[in-house]
Amino acid sequence: MSSTAIGMIETKGFVAALAAADAMVKAANVTITDRQEVGDGLVAVVIAGEVGAVKAATEAGAETASQVGELVSVHVIPRPHAELGNHFDTSAT
């Protein structure tokens, strides 16, 4: 897993986040590594996997989230720095 990327989808509302997470793990070979609820209904799901898989997964997840609820943001970090793992629960080192 040397070329591990992380992808993040943030939605407003739990249901959209859950639907997005489901769509992501079904769309490509990725794993869900974290779920963050920061309040005000914002839920973020973090996935990890190969760069191409993560991009495809976030694409599917974003589409599902916007259909089910409200999509806030989507982002992919192709090669996260190891330092990130010390402060965030990315599990992508």
């Binding site: 991009k55 495809a56 976030t58 694409e59 974003a62 589409e63 916007s66 999509l71 806030v72 989507v74």
Partner: protein
Amino acid sequence: MSTSLDLRAVIADVVREVVADLVGPAAPAPSTPAPGTPATPAPPAGVAGAEHVTPPTLRERVEAVRIGDDADLDRFARHLLALFENPKNRQDLRAGRLRFRLAGGAAAAESADRPAQRIDTGAVTERQVRAAAEAGRRLVLGRRAVLTPLAREKARALGVPIEKER
């Protein structure tokens, strides 16, 4: 015999003068291209008077012309008139040896001409970008529209302009 030689010499002189008059005044015209016409290669001003020794590289010329607004169009028309005063350039233009192409700002002008497709909310996916590219549209994203990473890559690859409102 001598009279015919003299006559020949006189005719040669007259022809030389006439040719010099035809070519001479027109020659400096293209060396001062219309102001603001960028990326115009220097026309062969010095070659015009030099007894038809046109280098083969100058046989076909393509001048880059930037036309972004009415002023540019006006400048280009004046430049064209100046070119037309030179008989050699006139022949080149008629024969298609001197051609013009749009330079630089063509892409920007094209993106402004494209009809806008507005997306206000939700995910903007790769599929939508591809559809916009096929329809020849540009994308205008509202504040709450989210562009996915794959869609951004696709837009760059297909040259679809995306504007995001803030």
